[in-house]
């Protein structure tokens, strides 16, 4: 079946611009996660949705980052006033339920480059 889909796969933007990254989770998965991965590092947690609401947004680095999931399916990660330090691969994952028992299914990520 279809896995987690992320678009675009690559995004190059100039410093100071606004970007949106989209995630289509696996159908029926209620939980959705955003992680960020820098080169040579493991994924770093950003935010977790259960249904439409953000259950844990403690990983968002600052108020330039915001994520929504208005209908409990597709999610958009929004970054305002991008900085060069925001350059990374942004990974989305979904799971059937809470993370304690359900493995995460990751997409292939959006590679964001801020010039």
């Amino acid at each position: 079946g279809a896995g987690v889909s992320q678009t675009p796969s690559n995004k190059v933007t100039e410093k100071g611009k606004y970007v949106e990254l989209r995630c289509d989770p696996i159908s029926g998965h209620t939980a959705l996660y955003w992680y960020r991965q820098s080169l040579g590092q493991g994924p770093e947690f950003l935010i977790y949705f259960q249904g439409t609401g953000a259950a844990d947004d403690s990983g968002l680095p600052n108020d330039r980052f915001f994520a929504v999931r208005p209908e409990g399916s597709v999610s958009t990660l929004k970054i305002q006033r991008t900085e060069r330090g925001d350059s990374a691969v942004y990974l989305c994952a979904s799971s059937l339920g809470g993370v304690l028992e359900s493995p995460l299914h990751f997409g292939n990520g959006t590679r964001l480059t801020v010039t």
Binding site: G42, P43, A55
Partner: protein, 113 residues
């Protein structure tokens, strides 16, 4: 804060041998540990999960062990193949049912034919 430490040096082994990767955590005992495989340019793929009350878990050629005294998990691939070459990530989950998995930096395995 909790940290997950994996050997950042690449592991190079010969085909057919057993690969053993190490994951150490610093402070809090996890509810469970998960292991993922990641290939270049791809997202991580789930392999195995081991709970805090389990000593060992197996799946085909994969085996995970968990030692709460040493605060360590070992991940073994027996009869390794070149196709096993990838980066392997360990992830810690606490007792609360949130989405916050804490990942190690991963260990790259290279299996030579």
């Amino acid at each position: 804060s909790q940290k997950i430490e994996q050997n950042s040096e690449a592991l190079n082994i010969q085909e057919g041998k057993t690969a053993t990767l190490t994951c150490n955590y610093t402070n809090y005992s996890p509810a469970y540990l998960q292991w993922y495989r990641q290939d270049p340019g791809r997202g991580p793929v789930f392999l195995l999960l081991i709970r805090e009350n389990e000593k060992e878990k197996r799946k085909e050629r994969l085996k995970v062990t968990f030692d709460t005294t040493l605060k360590q998990s070992l991940f073994h691939i027996t009869a390794s193949q070149p196709a096993d070459s990838a980066t392997y990530l360990c992830a810690w989950a606490g007792s609360s049912n949130t989405g916050k998995l804490i990942f190690g930096q991963g260990t790259t395995l290279q299996v030579k034919p």
